[in-house]
Each structure stands twice: as structure tokens, then as C-alpha cells.
């Protein structure tokens, strides 16, 4: 099973086996990170699943859609590494992915 490492808002890192086919948001929430709210359930409508993904993984991720771009534009914590975790599906090709939760808005 491919693995991913998530760094929570307190700075604690956790590595776990991810579920391919589920979004990164679902993977994070299902593995004990309750501070990632994802209140809209993956509809790209709330911006509460904001994460940072290391640049080294950029070419393995799907491109940012216009909708995701618009949602991220409303965040004061946006950086070039910003993504919405609900918009990225986890898969074997993302094995070893390393993400940090962005600060809460």
C-alpha cells in the first residue's frame, strides 16, 4: 500500500498507509487528523482542507482547476505549495507523499 506523511497543525508528523482512490482529504481525516475539517465534504466549496504539498511532488499531482484556484485565492495562507486536499485523489504514484496542513483561516 502506498504511504503518505502528514504534518498536523501542532507540528506532529504521522506516516500511514493511504487508501488509493480516496481523496487526500479523506485519507487525512480517516487517520486521526480531526483538525482538518473539510466541512463541505469534498465539494470544493469551503476551503477548509487547505494543505501544502512539497514542490518535489508537484509534477505528480493533477493540475489545479479553475474552481480550486478560485477557492485558494480567498485564503490568506496561500503559497505556491497550496492545494485543497479534497481535490487530489491519492494513488500509488503518490507513494511517499509529504503534506502539511495549512494554518486554519
Amino acid at each position: 500500500m502506498p504511504k503518505l506523511t502528514v504534518v498536523g497543525r501542532t507540528g506532529t508528523a504521522k506516516e500511514f498507509e493511504g487508501s488509493p482512490g480516496a481523496s487526500i482529504m479523506e485519507n487525512i481525516r480517516d487517520n486521526g487528523f480531526e483538525d482538518l475539517v473539510g466541512v463541505c465534504g469534498g465539494n470544493c466549496s469551503c476551503g477548509t482542507c487547505h494543505i501544502y504539498v512539497g514542490e518535489q511532488f508537484g509534477d505528480r499531482l493533477p493540475p489545479i482547476s479553475d474552481d480550486e484556484d478560485c477557492m485558494l485565492a480567498s485564503s490568506e495562507y496561500r503559497t505556491p505549495e497550496s492545494r485543497l486536499a479534497c481535490q487530489v485523489e491519492f494513488s500509488a504514484k503518490l507513494d511517499g507523499l509529504y503534506v502539511r496542513l495549512a494554518p486554519e483561516e
Binding site: 475539517v37 466541512v39 465534504g41 470544493c44 466549496s45 477548509t48 479553475d66 474552481d67 478560485c70 483561516e105
Partner: protein, 424 residues
């Protein structure tokens, strides 16, 4: 001591926050005989209920008496007018059925699509303000908050602006029918009649757009082939539009009214919004949390379960109170106060959660932000009008909204920039 059921009391339904505080503390899952259902009032418990649709479905079970929106005995009201009766589409469906409808309309309300509407909304907001800007006193609810969302909705479905009242009445009727246990049989019939009137108008539009497609949401839906390959029929299209209209009209009107009330009832909030020390986008989130336009929604128990130590039998109606959850002290410190520095400011439940998260959330946020910007930019020294009757909330369990918002103000263009800065 057992908590008394006070949902049958209109004054409590209109101003329920104190009562909800008692329920959160003493009976977070409470059976109300008045509502004929359970009321879930804590934030965490609400998240559990809405996060488990296999136990608490949005699709009414056959035994639920509250299903007046679709009840067969009201169908003749629609048949008399030659229009299809209501059909469960977005709000009270789950699974594949919900996906069919949500998928059909999702793109029209996506962040990208909504961003393209900003200029049009700003132009409309300014034109509405033009109509009252010289009066110095206005009921901001009727003269602005009711007009802007209705015009945006008219544009989306192709009605002319003078037909906006039909949309507003139908939205109010649809909302009241959701908590129909609180209505009399006579009022239920009247609400269905109001809803049926909108069905007739929408049906005529569908027929027109079928012959002559144009560039609006309804026309696109008429010609859309959903992912399952089956085009939407008239009954589906009508009920979809009625559902969208509830969001686009009733709840957005309530959202705007609640936002302006939150901005003007405490003098320092308006001053901070004007001098830039309070971020308008973050204020919109707090206003949504404080006033929570969609105050509650129903779920139906698909099987016996136990929540917070309370047994909920299969078939029960369960109301999740977003309003109460948004005032839960365990989640939001000092919940009655506007705090734009609050962490997790978007984590409120004003738009629901999960698969039924409000389809129009991005549009609602945009309308609220643009409305706030235009009103503050063009009106100075806004105060609640103390010569008018006090602002009161509607007696509706499902929707929270104010009945009027009388304000006094000065036209800002007439003032010097320096003077305007001091009148906040």
C-alpha cells in the same frame, strides 16, 4: 429536571438561542412533540449525524408524517393547475438520486462560475441602492436584501424582475413546508397553492427554452444530459428550480439581513469594517455563524440507533440545528460575539456539511461580500432607526431571518472623504 418542549411557542421559535443553550447543556438530543421529531443541538453531535447518511438519511422514510412537501393529499392542488407536483431532488434525497441532481447543477455554482458573476452582482447592487439613496431612511431588508438575491435568481432562470415576488413567495412556502408539523392544515394547503403558482411559471419557461435555448441556468438544464444519460423531465426540472430558489431567495435574503443586522447593531463593528481593521470576508463568515440563515434541516432515521444516550427509533424525524451548533460554546468561544480573529472561521455549520453542503455557498458568500462592500461604500453613518419598531425574527424553525431592518444613513457621495472617515 426534564427540559420542557418549547418549540410550540412562537416566541421561542423566533428567538431560540437561549433555549438552545439549555438543550445543549441538558438534552443535546431532545424529542419535541411540537416538531414530531428529535432536535440535535451540539456541534459535534450534529457533525456525527450529518456525517452518517446511512443512519440519518436526507430521504424521507415512508412512515414520516412530516413529509408534507411531497404528500399525496396535496397533489390535486397542482393537478388543478396542470403542473407536476413536488418531487424530491436536492435537499431530501441521498445516494445516486442526489448525485443525479447535484451533478446537473454543480458546475453552475462552482467557484469559477460564480467568480464570473461578480461584476453583474455589483452592478445590480448599485442600481438597487440608487433607488433609495436620497431617502436617508430605508427598510434595508425589503428595499435591498430581498431585491438583490431575487434579481440574481431571476437572471439564472430567466424570469423578469417584476416576477420576483413569485420567487419569493414560493421560497417562503417551500421552507415552511419543511417544518410542516408547525403549520395548520389550512396553511399547508395555502403554502402548496403558492408553490404551485411557481411550478406553473417554471413550466412555461421550460417549454419556451425547449423551443428556444438561451444562455441561462434553466435553459442549460433543459438541454442537459446528466451523467446517467437520462435528460431531466419537467417534474424534475421544476422541483430542482424550486429548490435552488429556496437557496437563492429565502436563505440568501436571510443571510443578507442577518449580516447587516450583525454589522449595525454593534457600533464598533461598522467602524472597524470601514477603517479596514476588520476583514469583510471574515466578517461575512461570522455573520453566517451568528445568524445561520438555514437554521435546521431534517434527517430521517433508517434504523434504530442511540445518540448521546438517547434512543432514536427507525423512522424518526431528526432535525439537525445548524443555528444551535454555531452557538455551541464547546466549539466557538464567546459564541454571541463577532470575532473575526477566530481560528477556523469557516468551520461553522451555516452551510451544512458533507454531501448536502450548500450548493450555493460560494454564490451566497459572494453576494454577501459584494452587498456589504456596496452598502458601506455608498451609505455613511448607518444606524438602526430607533424611531421604527424593533427588529424581530420570523417565526420559522427551519430558516432564521429578520422581518425588517429600518436604518438611517447619509448619502456618502455627498460627503467629503475626511468627514466620511469619521462618521463610520
Amino acid at each position: 429536571m426534564a427540559i420542557e418542549d418549547r418549540f410550540g411557542c412562537p416566541a421561542i421559535v423566533a428567538e431560540p438561542l437561549e433555549y438552545f443553550g439549555e438543550l445543549r447543556a441538558e438534552a443535546p438530543v431532545f424529542y419535541s412533540d411540537s416538531l414530531k421529531g428529535f432536535v440535535v443541538s451540539r456541534y459535534e453531535t450534529l457533525q456525527y449525524v450529518v456525517g452518517n447518511p446511512e443512519i440519518f438519511s436526507s430521504s424521507p422514510v415512508a412512515t414520516a408524517m412530516s413529509n408534507a412537501g411531497q404528500a399525496k393529499q396535496y397533489q390535486p392542488i397542482y393537478e388543478e393547475l396542470g403542473t407536476p407536483p413536488p418531487l424530491a431532488t436536492l435537499l431530501i434525497t441521498d445516494g445516486a438520486v442526489h448525485k443525479r441532481y447535484r451533478g446537473a447543477v454543480e458546475a453552475a455554482f462552482s467557484a469559477g462560475a460564480v467568480a464570473a458573476m461578480e461584476t453583474g452582482i455589483r452592478t445590480r447592487a448599485d442600481a438597487i441602492i440608487d433607488d433609495f439613496i436620497d431617502r436617508e431612511r430605508v427598510d434595508l431588508l425589503t428595499e435591498f436584501c430581498q431585491k438583490l438575491p431575487a434579481q440574481v435568481m431571476c437572471d439564472l432562470i430567466g424570469l423578469s424582475r417584476d416576477q420576483a415576488d413569485i420567487l419569493r413567495n414560493a421560497a417562503t412556502a417551500a421552507v415552511r413546508l419543511i417544518s410542516s408539523a408547525l403549520e395548520t392544515e389550512e396553511s399547508r394547503r395555502e403554502l402548496h397553492r403558492q408553490r404551485a403558482e411557481m411550478h406553473v411559471y417554471v413550466q412555461r419557461l421550460i417549454e419556451r427554452f425547449r423551443r428556444e435555448p438561451i444562455d441561462n441556468l434553466l435553459s442549460k438544464l433543459v438541454h442537459l444530459v446528466p451523467d446517467d444519460g437520462v435528460p431531466l423531465n419537467d417534474a424534475e426540472l421544476i422541483s430542482l428550480v424550486v429548490g435552488l430558489n429556496v437557496g437563492g431567495n429565502e436563505t440568501t435574503v436571510n443571510g443578507l439581513g442577518g449580516m447587516f443586522l450583525s454589522a449595525f447593531r454593534t457600533p464598533d463593528v461598522q467602524a472597524k469594517l470601514r477603517d479596514g481593521t476588520m476583514d469583510p470576508g471574515r466578517f461575512v463568515e461570522e455573520a453566517l455563524r451568528l445568524e445561520t440563515p438555514v437554521a435546521a434541516m431534517p434527517r430521517w432515521a433508517t434504523r434504530d440507533s442511540e445518540v448521546e444516550g438517547v434512543s432514536i427509533p427507525a423512522g424518526s424525524l431528526v432535525y439537525v440545528s445548524f443555528l444551535s451548533a454555531n452557538h455551541d460554546e464547546a466549539r466557538f468561544a464567546c459564541p454571541a460575539h463577532v470575532d473575526t480573529q477566530r481560528k477556523g472561521i469557516r468551520n461553522h455549520a451555516a452551510f451544512g456539511a458533507g454531501v448536502h453542503y450548500c450548493l450555493g455557498a460560494v454564490l451566497a458568500r459572494l453576494e454577501m461580500k459584494v452587498a456589504l462592500e456596496r452598502v458601506l461604500d455608498r451609505l455613511a453613518g448607518i444606524q438602526l432607526d430607533d424611531t421604527a419598531p424593533p427588529v424581530e425574527h420570523h417565526v420559522k424553525f427551519i430558516a432564521r431571518g429578520i422581518m425588517s431592518l429600518p436604518i438611517r444613513f447619509k448619502r456618502r457621495e455627498a460627503m467629503t472623504t475626511a468627514a466620511a472617515g469619521h462618521t463610520g
